[in-house]
């Protein structure tokens, strides 16, 4: 039923001008995504102002296209220059850049594009078929569940390291969490660790830290190395082989579903989605040792995860008017500005809108696939530009991105300080990915833990009350201790009777 409605809307929207608009907007979104510092959130906010007076349908389709394009576009700079364009692509760096370095840049971009498209499609299906049902799930995530979810995020930090040193991953992750505690906290409004500096009241934003630890470190590193290019240039086939996609079918579906679910949870967003998808892929892979050194599976998981999250984040926007991620929050505001009323009333007042919206989302995803696969070869030329010319230009863009997000010079200094800290960190084997993840998780873990305790008057038992909580607790436990001998043998013991019964039946 839903599919038929979607199909009619897709046909209705089909006209050349719409197609051109979507293609242009997706390309603009990709540019926003590619530039370090300029994020999907910012792109949507800017275009909301620019398209304020446009006809509603045109304006919304542009905003959706920007959203989809920006989340995807970040993968390109992640693959090509090891600088994630948006925080959501930090996990893509882990495998995308090693692939590009070994001369498989074109294939990596092709795969990233394909998996982004497939991720979007899974998100689209969730949006069309299950929006009302899944939307309700957003309300199931209260303080306790969110606390466990964020703890799960902390637990996977040790798995996000390229070398085999989980402890450094956790140190980086915890450092990220602790950094996020700087500034005014949300419960009592006390400025923590600001040491009297007013500027620190707002804390460290994610963008300056991300641009510093990835962008500036990469720039300094490359300028130090000089113009020796280690990249092997061979433009191979861009469009991925069908068999590669099939081989990763399970991975894609799993990452897509993870992305959708994480998208639905209010305020969590694409960043965590791509990390969790990556972590799951690594755990269930037959070649976990390849992760971080150019694993195709890792690249696919992270890109599918973050783009599926876009669709997921839009589910509660349409069904409850609750944004599932920061960019979705701006998109929601734009819908309001254009006189639409997303939320519980939408199904009563304008039940067909969800399909119109999904059709726009479909066109945006399709445009992303087409543009993504077409403009690869010229992009690869970036790798041929001399470091001494390319890097200063990238630094300029980093500065703009950092400044534009809040309009504060202070953020530029934060970026530089994190570049200076990040350089030895990378040399000593501390990964940057958990640091970024920790920075996102920190405020959530802090608020939800304390708020939960306020709600229960200090009692910790209600934290285990709901089913979702228990599932998450088990997940945290298995992530942390699943590989230790004690747990393994305990599990064997636990499943012994079942195995015994199974044996009996078999015989």
């Amino acid at each position: 039923m839903g599919i038929i409605n979607l199909f009619t809307e897709i046909v209705k929207l089909f006209n050349p001008l719409n197609l051109i608009t979507v293609l242009l907007a997706v390309q603009l979104g990709i540019i926003f995504g590619m530039l370090p510092g300029l994020t999907a959130t910012m792109g949507i906010a800017l275009l909301t102002s620019l398209t304020f007076r446009w006809e509603t349908g045109n304006a919304i389709i542009i905003l959706i296209a920007i959203y989809v394009g920006a989340i995807y576009g970040g993968s390109r700079s992640a693959i090509l220059i090891n600088i994630p364009g948006t925080p959501a692509n930090a996990a893509t760096c882990l495998d995308g850049f090693p692939l590009a370095k070994s001369g498989k840049g074109a294939q990596a971009i092709g795969l990233a594009t394909m998996s982004s498209f497939l991720g979007s499609s899974i998100g689209l299906l969730a949006l069309v078929l299950f929006a009302p049902i899944l939307g309700r799930m957003a309300l199931d995530f209260k303080s306790f569940e969110l606390f466990w979810l964020t703890l799960f995020g902390v637990a996977i930090c040790g798995n996000l390291t390229a070398p085999t040193d989980p402890i450094k991953g956790w140190i980086a992750g915890i450092a990220g969490i602790l950094l996020s505690f700087v500034g005014m906290e949300a419960i009592q409004g006390y400025p923590r660790f600001t040491f009297g500096i007013l500027e620190l009241n707002a804390g460290f934003s994610i963008i300056p830290v991300l641009v510093g630890t990835y962008g500036l470190v990469e720039i300094l590193d490359n300028l130090t190395k000089g113009d020796i290019k280690t990249v092997i240039m061979s433009v191979g086939r861009v469009i991925p082989y069908f068999k590669d996609i099939i081989k990763n079918g399970v991975n894609i579906v799993r990452s897509g579903v993870i992305g959708v679910f994480i998208g639905i949870i209010p305020g969590v967003g694409e960043i965590i989605a791509s990390y969790v998808a990556y972590d799951f892929a690594k755990r269930s892979s037959k070649h976990p040792e390849k992760f971080g050194k150019g694993s195709v599976e890792g690249l696919i998981a992270s890109e599918t995860g973050n783009n599926a999250c876009v669709g997921g984040a839009l589910v509660p926007v349409l069904s409850l008017a609750i944004p599932g991620s920061p960019p979705a929050a701006v998109l929601l505001a734009a819908l309001w500005l254009h006189g639409l009323r997303p939320g519980p009333l939408l199904q009563i007042e304008n039940p067909n809108y969800i399909f119109e919206f999904s059709a726009m989302f479909f066109y945006a995803s399709l445009a992303m696939l087409i543009i993504g696969l077409l403009i690869v070869k010229p992009l690869l030329k970036i790798l041929l530009i001399k470091n001494s010319i390319l890097m200063p230009t990238i630094f300029l863009l980093c500065t703009i991105g950092t400044f534009a997000i809040n309009g504060r010079l202070f953020d530029i200094w934060v970026m530089i300080i994190f570049g200076i800290i990040g350089y030895p960190m990378r040399k000593f084997g501390y990964p940057s990915a958990p640091l970024v993840l920790g920075l996102i998780l920190g405020p959530m873990i802090d608020e939800n833990l304390r708020r939960g305790l306020i709600l229960t008057n200090g009692n910790f038992l209600p934290f285990f009350k709901s089913t979702i909580s228990i599932i998450l607790v088990v997940a945290v436990f298995l992530t942390l201790f699943g590989k230790t001998r004690v747990v393994k043998s305990a599990f064997r013991l636990l499943f012994q009777p079942i195995r015994y019964v199974a044996k009996l039946i078999k015989n």
């Binding site: 300029l38 800017l46 102002s49 620019l50 402890i167 956790w170 140190i171 915890i174 450092a175 969490i177 602790l178 505690f181 906290e185 419960i187 009592q188 006390y190 923590r192 660790f193 500036l216 720039i219 300094l220 300028l223 130090t224 190395k225 000089g226 113009d227 001399k386 470091n387 001494s388 010319i389 890097m391 200063p392 230009t393 630094f395 300029l396 863009l397 500065t399 703009i400 400044f403 534009a404 309009g407 010079l409 530029i412 200094w413 530089i416 570049g419 200076i420 040399k427 000593f428 084997g429 873990i445 802090d446 833990l449 304390r450 305790l453 306020i454 008057n457 200090g458």
Partner: protein
Amino acid sequence: MAKADFICSIIIIVFSLFMIYNCIIMPKYEEWGLYATPGMPPFIFFSILLIMGIILLRRSVFLRGYKIQIKKDHLLRLYHSVAVRRFAVALSLVIFYSFLLGKIHFVIISAVYIFTNIYIFKGTIWWINFIISIATSFAIWLLFKVIFLVPLP
């Protein structure tokens, strides 16, 4: 790596001890209950960081990471190393640029920054360099300031 870990772990341990002290002296907001004090989560996470630091220290000590010797010729080699010099120059240009941002017009200071960078790192001959630096700075300014209305320093 063991030596680096040794130094890092000591920094981590000292830093987390200092911050744990800071967490303890934070206001308690008794009326909310002790479980809701702003110092509680940082206290927990700094304690974890402290434990991690100790584990790292133990590991590096086993690998004899404490055998750190600083000889004169180490420093000399560092001083003469091309990589260190390049790093220092790149970093100081970055800092210099950021320091002047907002004081001088964006296009001018950016063009100067790119020009100096390419000049020092011998990217290309001077007149191409000149064109590249001015064109890039201006194009970026035009794109962001005029078309996207993004605030620029």
